[in-house]
């Protein structure tokens, strides 16, 4: 068996077919082949253990110096690769990445609002959704945690996004994952547009702040 060619087979079209089934829509498209966020979300590292020997691919395993990957080696592979190898071909056996294991899930369930989802992986929801297509026993629990976490955080996101006077956007969004950030930006944009519409007709001409300050200073000099 030529493992190199097998791995090579995860070419453009194959990874696309995988992406077809687990694409995380960003709301306006059901499937976008060119979506950068989807591509990045598929980079999630999944711990895999090899069921067979992978010949001449030892270089993938940074720690070992062997020429081949022996059966039973544990290696972290990106999601798009793991998906292809794990399926019918059964070359690897996958297990749940650390960030989606029971401990982290319990932490999230306990206090979803103050968790830093940006640190847990900037694409926590997106990668989580892709993870659901694997055949691990944790799938239902992961889905439940994703939904519960999102539901408890959505109020916070909505309140913050509707408050456009809150200028310090970075502070609000630095604990949000990418999906939540997009949601936040969406909400904020519409309220900002509303505000602009409301005030544009009330705008009266006023002198610029710089001119006002300059005049003040000159008066003080006298």
């Amino acid at each position: 068996m030529n493992s190199l060619s097998q791995l090579n087979n995860t070419s453009l079209s194959q990874s696309a077919s995988f992406r077809d089934s687990t694409y995380v829509s960003h709301y306006s498209e059901a499937f976008n082949f060119y979506d950068i966020d989807d591509i990045l979300a598929s980079e999630l590292r999944i711990p895999c253990s090899f069921n067979v020997t992978a010949y001449r691919l030892g270089y993938l395993h940074t720690n070992s110096k062997t020429e081949h990957i022996e059966t039973g080696t544990n290696l972290e592979l990106p999601l798009w690769l793991a998906k292809s190898l794990a399926g019918r071909k059964n070359i690897v056996k996958v297990s749940v990445p650390i960030r989606y294991t029971k401990e982290i899930r319990q932490e999230l369930e306990a206090d979803a609002n103050s968790s830093d989802l940006n640190k847990l992986g900037p694409y926590y929801y997106e990668s989580g959704i892709k993870l659901l297509s694997f055949d691990t026993p944790d799938v239902d629990a992961i889905a439940e945690v994703l939904i519960k976490t999102f539901c408890s955080r959505s109020r916070y996101i909505m309140d913050r996004s509707h408050n456009i006077y809150d200028r310090d956007q970075l502070q609000i969004t630095n604990r949000l994952d990418e999906s939540e950030k997009k949601l936040f930006m969406c909400g904020r944009q519409s309220v900002e547009k509303f505000q602009q519409w409301e005030t544009q007709k009330c705008k009266k001409l006023s002198s610029s702040g710089f001119v006002r300050m300059k005049r003040k200073r000159q008066f003080d000099d006298i």
Binding site: S13, A16, D20, E29, A30, F31, F33
Partner: protein
């Protein structure tokens, strides 16, 4: 748990919120129903056509995919615009009447171009999808446009990128490399008449006339095409 959104209680299937108490006696004098629903007679008048065009534009704005082309509204409005322009050029009308008609013409032109522009935007974005799924919804000119657009894009990809790729990945499989609209997104609709039997997650729901609902687009797509509900 009452509130503006009338949600469905899982167990009992009853609505959780009620209509507001009737302080409506004071409001009865006011006509709060905007947009008179089109009657059969209206559709033949210029007003009916204009209303139809505005509705088509609004539906197009909120629908994820391209809806069927309302050619008769567009043609009719174009004729009206042309007739107006001709008559204004010729006759001696008081300044005020001239400005009035011109203002109205501008408004009609705005809706026309907004409608067509929105469709074009969606066609471009979902070009490959449209040639397969929604080709019937496009007008003749749009079909010519989409064909040329796809040809140009393919040639661009070929020249800029694909030509330089190794042989195995040189073909962009159209089946896999596409952008498709999200038919499952949530939309707000308003029912133009009583609509019964809309299936939402295996449950049949009825819409009263003039009621506003939020639900998945895929569930109401057919009813929108028939004109029984509108997107808002």
């Amino acid at each position: 748990m009452a509130g503006p959104f009338i949600l469905r209680d899982e167990q009992t299937g009853k609505s959780l919120s009620q209509s507001p108490p009737s302080a409506e006696s004071k409001l009865k004098e006011l006509d709060l129903d905007e947009e008179p629903i089109q009657t059969a007679d209206d559709t033949l008048t210029a007003y009916g056509m204009y209303q139809g065009l505005v509705k088509a534009w609004r539906n197009e704005l909120f629908a994820p995919d391209v809806l069927s082309y309302k050619g008769d509204y567009v043609e009719c409005m174009l004729e009206v615009v042309k007739a107006m322009e001709d008559s204004l050029r010729g006759s001696e009308v008081p300044e005020i009447v001239r400005s009035l008609h011109q203002l109205e013409l501008e408004r009609v032109r705005y809706v026309l171009s907004a409608y067509l522009r929105k469709r074009l935007e969606k066609i471009e974005k979902y070009a490959d999808y449209n040639t397969v799924e929604d080709i019937d919804n496009l007008s003749g000119e749009e079909r010519i446009f989409i064909r040329e657009y796809i040809e140009n894009m393919d040639r661009l990809f070929e020249n800029v990128a694909l030509r330089h790729m190794p042989p195995m990945v040189r073909n962009l499989d159209k089946d896999k490399a596409k952008v498709t609209p999200n038919l499952d997104e949530f939309v707000f609709i308003r029912a133009n008449e009583d609509v019964g039997g809309v299936m939402i997650d295996d449950e049949a729901v009825n819409f009263d006339k003039n009621s506003i609902h939020i639900l998945r687009y895929s569930e109401v797509k057919s009813v929108i095409e028939k004109g029984r509900v509108d997107l808002i």
